[in-house]
């Protein structure tokens, strides 16, 4: 798993169970990329990360967190 964690699944739930396709359309990517992001198998570019944050109307930090290794 990557060190960059995200709350996309939680945020989708908080936004009236927004579908992965709807989020993908708003953020400008494919549904498969949203699935990969939620599973922690892909780290997005800065541009896409901002696009996802904007789709939820929150800041980047509210969606993505960097997990420090101990």
């Amino acid at each position: 798993m990557t060190k960059v964690k995200n709350r996309i699944r939680r945020l989708r739930f908080d936004h009236d169970e927004m579908t992965q396709q709807e989020l993908a359309n708003r953020a400008g990517c494919t549904r498969q990329t949203i699935i990969a992001l939620e599973q922690g198998k892909y780290v997005p570019s800065i541009e896409l990360a901002f696009g996802i944050a904007k789709a939820f109307g929150v800041t980047l930090e509210e969606v993505f967190q960097y997990e420090e290794s101990t």
Binding site: M1, T2, G28, C29, T30, Q32, T33, A36, G40, K41, Y42, P44, S45, E47, L48
Partner: protein, 143 residues
Amino acid sequence: MASLQKRALYGLAFGVVWAVAIIVVFIVKGGVSTFSDDQGFRLIIDGLWVGGLIFYGILMLTLRKQSQVDERDRLILGRAPVVQLWAVIFSLVIWTIVLTESYWDQGIPPIFMYLVFMSTLIVSAVAHSIGILIGYWRMGRND
């Protein structure tokens, strides 16, 4: 499954059928000696080869223009040429060893230049699909 991944899967299936079809036609029609002498035979192989290449090109290139491909797909697409490169190098090594050992004394017939070029392009096209599929597989097991 991502659109690009589907196309790569179709491309691989088509590429295998395409390569096998050319090899079967080549062997059934008489092999290298007939290929060298018979223009009709050469045109059949040309048709299969160029037709397949155009079909493969349409299959893979039309997708890139659509909105179905995003940054993750483009990242995988960008890595696929590594597999292509290794596949082409490997096929050229095989050709070089086989031809050198088979025609050491009498010299390699020029017609093999054509066959080497043709097979290299087919290998390159098939390896492109394999490279894309490997990219998705590696990204999928990123844990």
